[in-house]
């Protein structure tokens, strides 16, 4: 019996029960089949309008949400911050209320302020889907990472996952931490103490400051981008020292267990957090993550629109 999904919004994985999160993953499994067909479209959201409201730049996530919505037969509008009234001094809430007044059914928001998705979700009738709020969460990225792990390794419980890099400023890390710990994985965060402060251990994860101590005993290594736009020079001396201490070099990749998955949420900095050949190697599932992101986002849009959870989707329209 698949647990129900009774939420109009998806703002943070930390807000949801393991059962609800599995519901999304199971529904995504069903939707993945749609993307493999010649006719990649189902009518689940026909007549619904989705607004992609990206106040921070994004390519991959925005296109993924757009394609997910199109495959569900929704109408899609994209707006970017630079083209919105936020530039003219309108508040986020007023802009969002205007979108709602235009009868948007779903608003996908990316914004630099932590909590901004929840802020809108509490004030709007429309469904609000968080596509990244500051350093808080990026729920669909967390879901697609977990989906990929489950697809490749068959389970999540008991899987040892190392998340390496700029954890402090990473919403991807936080969504991964919440989801993976709720589903029983063992998570270790790896990076310099300035980017992986001890306070993370209160989230039920281990903290390590040496990748070499961790690398021999993991099932998944998820490499986060060193975020140049946020990186401040006082956090670590530079990318050269970072790569030397924490980069997944070929030498380190050779020490990974044979079945270990190499993941990256993108965009990658080849040669910094990950060696270029390692990124393209057989153990890398980086492009599978992107493909799975579509299925996960279809599931999220579908469930938040009131769709009934299911494990298999009808393949004939």
């Amino acid at each position: 019996m698949t647990p129900a999904w009774n939420h109009k919004d998806l703002c943070a994985l930390g807000e949801h029960t393991p059962g609800e999160l599995l519901t999304i993953l199971d529904t995504a499994t069903a939707f993945k089949g749609v993307g493999e067909r010649n006719l990649k479209k189902v009518p689940a959201l026909r007549g619904k309008t989705l607004v992609n409201f990206f106040v921070e730049p994004s390519t991959r996530t925005r296109i993924s949400f757009e394609l997910a919505a199109l495959r569900l037969s929704a109408d899609v509008v994209n707006i970017a911050a630079s083209a919105s009234s936020l530039e003219k001094g309108e508040t986020l809430l007023d802009t969002a209320r205007n979108l709602e007044a235009l009868r948007a059914d779903l608003i996908v928001i990316r914004h630099k302020s932590a909590g901004s998705a929840r802020f809108l979700a509490d004030r709007l009738q429309a469904s609000v889907i968080n596509a990244g709020d500051g350093a808080h969460e990026h729920p669909t990225q967390g879901l697609l990472d977990a989906f990929t792990i489950r697809e490749k390794l068959g389970r999540i419980e008991g899987i040892r996952v190392a998340i390496v890099g700029d954890i402090l400023f990473s919403r991807v890390a936080r969504s991964n931490i919440h989801l993976l710990t709720k589903l029983g994985a063992e998570v270790t965060l790896v990076g310099p103490p300035t980017l992986v402060p001890e306070s993370f251990s209160s989230l039920g994860v281990s903290v390590a400051h040496s990748i070499d101590e961790v690398i021999g005993r993991v099932d998944v290594v998820n490499l986060l981008r060193i975020q140049h736009e946020r990186q401040r020079k006082e956090y670590f001396p530079g990318t050269g020292e970072y790569t030397a201490r924490f980069g997944l070099t070929k030498k380190r990749a050779d020490r990974l267990p044979a079945e270990c998955l190499i993941m990256h949420p993108g965009p990658m900095n080849r040669g910094v957090e990950i060696d270029s050949d390692v990124a393209d190697s057989g153990r890398s599932v980086i492009l599978d993550q992107v493909t799975n992101g579509l299925a996960v986002r279809m599931a999220v849009l579908y469930l938040c629109s009131g769709g009934a959870p299911f494990a298999r989707i009808e393949t004939n329209q």
């Binding site: 909590g115 500051g134 306070s199 989230l203």
Partner: protein, 429 residues
Amino acid sequence: MSEALHIKGGRVIDPASGSDTVRDLFVENGVITDSKPAKATVIDAAGKVVSPGLIDIHVHFREPGQSHKETIASGSRCAAFGGFTTVVCMPNTSPVADSPATIAWIQERAASNSIVNVYCTGAITRGIAGEEMAPIGALAAAGVVALTDDGRCVQNHGVMLRAVEYAKQFGLPIMDHCQEATLSSDGVMNDGEWSTRLGLPGWPALAEDLIVARNILLAEQTGHPIHCQHISSARSVRLLREARRRGVSITAEACPHHICLTDGDLKTFDTNFKMNPPLRTQADIDEIIAGIADGTITILASDHAPHAPYEKEVEFDKAPFGILGLETELPVFLEILFHRRKARTLPEILAMLTVNPAKLLGLDRGTLAVGAVADITILDPDHAWTYDKEDSPSLSRNTPFHGMALRGRALNTIVGGKIVWDLENGFRN
């Protein structure tokens, strides 16, 4: 007009003289007298506590310049509603209270619009910009009772040292908002488990501790009193405790929210829990209460900081810091310090709201001695009620205490012998 009053049968607590007895209190011509006036309005205070009028040395009444948040008139009504007869306003208005002209404007405004006593602080530096010394002598002559750059903290230690030395010749105490800016940076909440969870930039306790330590050294160096405002961190309390044992002229205040709420209360990103310094942890609360209990912290204040609803109704990191405080101040202090934690006796708590702040700033208030100005608060420490922000006289509604069940409340607020508010009838004008 001031009326003659006969406050009958109350438990009269006057921390200034150490007296605590059930007796009658008489008021005539705006002062406390020792004989019963010929014709007096009788207030039955049987079973109630009669205290010197409460004093709050840390409020923001937003005038001049931000009267959409609060005015001296509306702020003074919050004070009276909460049992406060005297408030001390912070200088971070627009323009900043860094000139005698602005001080005079506030004083005139208060004389015509306020229903409680309003005292002014002046800025330490021009424009509270932390660079050039404000005209401290002229501010002293204009009647400010202390100097502070509250809301900002003077970062330049040389500027701060010279301001303290300069203020000493006028006997003006310095009050400091303790926040080292390179450490607090763009932080909007306590740096710790909850900032980690919420992904919000952290403002670490260390940033307060560093400036508390700086101020201890400056007070010791200059021999001039420095008062550390709204202490939020456990280590700051420990630093202050050690310094006060050595006899350093350093004092500190605590605010209701810092002994009642924690950073975990931010989990819904509610901006009504956002203030500066931020809510910290239970360990910090425990140490602040220990500091109140052992005399490290001697003054209680609200940091009443109104902001209009539309200003608070934004993304968390964009919202201004600050919450309402005057109406819930006494009840929250009584609920936490007296009822729940039993940290202090009632006379001791009232001392921290009357004679202690009066002494720090040299105010001729905070006592029920014969001949003193008749500022009186009648209160019931056991009065059980639930705070509703819609009942607030403030122009703003930014409180984290809405719906909170509290014990303790002011019943009558008497300023200069005149009843300005009482629970039964509300405001008198």
